[in-house]
Amino acid sequence: MREKELEKLKDYKYGFSTDIENFKAPKGLNEDVIKFISNIKKEPKWLLDWRLKAYNRVKVLKEPNWQKPKYPKIDYQDLYYYSAPKSFKEKPKSLDELDPKLIETYNKLGIPLNEQKRLNGIAVDAVFDSVSVATTFKDTLTEKGIIFCSISEAIQKHPDLVKKYLGSVIPITDHYFATLNSAVFTDGSFVYIPPGVRCPMELSTYFRINASDTGQFERTLIIADKGSYVSYLEGCTAPMRDENQLHAANVELIALDDAEIKYSTVQNWYPGDKDGKGGIYNFVTKRGLCKGKNSKISWTQVETGSAITWKYPSCILQGDNSVGEFYSIAITNNHQKADTGTKMIHLGKNTKSKIISKGISAGFSDMTYRGLVDISPKSSNSSNYTQCDSLLMGNKCGAHTIPYIKNKNSNSNIAHEATTSKISDEQLHYCQQRGLNSEEAVSLIVNGFCKEVLQQLPMEFAVEAQKLVGISLEGSVG
């Protein structure tokens, strides 16, 4: 029985595509396409102007080239920047009106959109290609004054909040992919937690790329007002396709005084086949601003998918006593490449940050941890602790660590540790002696290696992540 299950899991189980009629913007990147996106979403003029300003910058910017994984040139004119299920021309008013095929897709993914079916209370916002299809548990959240909806809806209903915070952490003057996102972003989630409210359930977004030749550019904006708390989860999958697809999302978090945001990601985009054909380019910009005093932002990520992952969830610790945390597991197998890490920018006094990064590479893959810890002269009594460990399986893969450490304040401490090793034969032998086969043994040891990070994940995610860790490494030993 177990064997059978494993067999099924060996392939990317989210690799199916949904046959659904799509409504797309014309191919290519130009002013008309941006106007088209803005128009179809009935956006106010200021947002269109903002998009066009970003687009004008994209025209003169160059793609960054300092990263380790190189990729073939992307033809930005050969992509669709907007794709939505045809039945969405008029947004359905309730779940009953939703195309049954879509509901089926999400059921297949294990994300029931039907509230009654859910046992555990997690509110979900599901994004399919370029649009948000459904948000669950709205009523419960509204009672508390929490706003959780798609960003398009937020632009219509809460323009003041969006206008105030959009681009305040990732401005349109940022790097190439972030700016491109500002110009053409289609949908994403918006969360606002009012002062003093502790969000009663986990909020979750599920991203799905379905159409081919489509870039997904979503934008997530989370604002935790004074004294509030929210835990947010993000999951992603895509169908198996031969060509590479681009995913360039922007995520902005803002924590005001005494607020806390916990952001967890399980990223499982299609990684390409065994020979490195196809897969998602995951070029994501995630940045959190601890704006207020005593605020806290914590990033947790499990990165197992994508052909190329290239992201650095960062914290800007502006408020005094603010805390930034980063927990990461990144696993690459076959021909996957990952260049990931974090930036901790200490600006306020008494700020603290912690980085725990675990990288595992197998097959022909390449993994890089790249991070920056910068303590500015005014940020006294601050401290950072960094630990990055890498595990290598085989001698065809690579594991690299590139930390940048800048200490400009004599009252602040930075400590950094890194190790690289392999799974020792003794450990394997010990487990096998006790009846585990070699793959189970590896999975067990790797899960132990990652424990510090897995512990940070919310319950439901931790179970899924643990399974993912095992599956991603299938076939890498023996």
Binding site: L392, N395, H400, N409, S410, S412, N413, H416, A418
Partner: protein
């Protein structure tokens, strides 16, 4: 750059060079004039923008002056504490060769070497050196010969010398089973010069190189030194930096461990004050199985000074059983200082043991309190802690007399 071009033309005219050499120099001059001095846009120079520093500290630089005066050797530059062989350079010109302590024919110093060698990847300062260094020296230690006394290379300038670029290039060859103890001693009287030194080391089987670089004495020159080390099997290299005196200094080490069981040790001290800015960049390439490297760099920073450490351990997919270790620590004594580090690992083999660590912070107040409660003054307590912190690095030196010498020079009592 205009200055460089005219000076380079003058240099070509005044020296009698072979066609091959002229082509080599022309190529390097072209590379240098198209890149110029490195700036912070170059990843390797992110923490130390030498282009800005030269502009700010020196301004216009002379690249070539006909007949640089050598003058007499000032007696006060010589070290008397230790018996040694000498090579004395004044204003970049060789004035004395002295191998009196060694057997005849076992150590050779040649100065008519063909000045052409393999090109290292993009480094415009090496291009500058290749274009302008008028001679290439070579030191050869013969097979099975262990040098008896250390060799001190004196790098000195006369007080009249200013705004001058000096380029020096020496190749060292250690044949099988040989050994060399080498001290580079900086003793400058000149002001605001840019000194660019390039060493090539080739270590044959079982050879041992011990290289100690001492920049202890106050001077306001800008210094760049590149060590290129190639190691065959069972060879050992030990490099130690005392980085203290110059206004700006960057020491780069590029070490290929090409033979099995070869090992490389890099140790360094930064002890900086008065807006000084020093950097060590080390890249150790483990290319075959069973090689070892160890790096330890410590900084004590005061009064607007800055230090940077970039260390990289590269492990090739063939280099199983590599042991690589790297540690950098810094004490920031006051608020005006800055410490930057980039300890990198690039690993392609799985059966390796590689780790790095970096820590920086202020002096530990609790330790100061502890010492003061036992009767030391604040100043004494601070000094004791700082010296104790740095002496760990000096104690890594494997040659006892030289260890003693360096402790003396640095002003540490012997009981440390």
């Amino acid at each position: 750059m205009e200055n460089f071009k005219t000076d380079f033309a003058k240099m070509l005219k005044n020296n009698n060079l072979s066609e091959k050499e002229i082509a080599f120099k022309n190529f390097n001059a072209k590379e240098f004039s198209s890149h110029g001095f490195p700036n912070r846009k170059d990843e390797d120079w992110k923490f130390s923008d030498i282009n800005q520093i030269i502009k700010k500290e020196i301004g216009e630089l002379n690249f070539y002056t006909e007949q640089l005066k050598k003058g007499e050797i000032d007696k006060d530059i010589l070290l008397n504490e230790i018996e040694h062989n000498k090579l004395i350079f004044i204003n970049g010109q060789l004035v004395q060769i002295d191998f009196n302590y060694e057997d005849k024919g076992k150590v050779e110093f040649l100065d008519n070497q063909n000045n052409i060698d393999e090109q290292l990847a993009d480094n415009s300062l090496i291009n500058l050196n290749n274009a302008l260094s008028n001679k290439s020296y070579k030191l050869l230690v013969k097979k099975n010969y262990q040098i008896k006394k250390p060799l001190i290379i004196y790098h000195t300038t006369k007080s009249e010398l200013t705004s001058q670029n000096i380029n020096l290039k020496i190749n060292f060859e250690l044949e099988e089973n040989s050994s060399l103890k080498l001290i580079d001693l900086v003793k400058d009287k000149g002001n605001k010069n840019f000194i660019n030194i390039f060493y090539n080391f080739s270590l044959e089987k079982n050879s041992i190189l011990k290289n100690y670089k001492i920049d202890q004495f106050e001077n306001d020159n800008i210094r760049y030194m590149f060590n290129n080390i190639k190691q065959s099997s069972n060879s050992v290299s030990e490099t130690f930096y005392l980085s203290k005196g110059s206004t700006f200094s960057k020491n780069e080490i590029f070490c290929d461990l090409k033979g099995e069981h070869s090992s490389a040790f890099v140790n360094g001290i930064f002890s900086l004050n008065k807006s000084k800015h020093h950097e060590i960049k080390a890249k150790i390439n483990h290319l075959v199985e069973n090689t070892k490297s160890y790096q330890l760099v410590k900084s004590v920073l005061e009064n607007k000074s800055r230090s940077a450490y970039q260390g990289k351990i590269y492990v090739d997919s063939k280099a199983q059983k590599t042991d690589g270790y790297q540690l950098s620590k810094a004490i920031l004594v006051d608020e005006t200082t800055e410490f930057n580090a980039k300890p990198e690992l690039e690993i392609y083999a799985d059966d390796v043991k590689c780790s790095h660590g970096s820590a920086s912070g202020s002096l530990d107040e609790n330790s100061i309190f502890y010492l003061m409660s036992r009767g030391l003054s604040y100043k004494e307590a601070r000094e004791l802690l700082i010296n104790g912190f740095l002496v760990e690095v000096i104690n890594q030196i494997t040659d006892e007399p030289i260890k003693k010498l360096i402790k003396n020079l640095y002003g540490l009592k012997n009981e440390y």
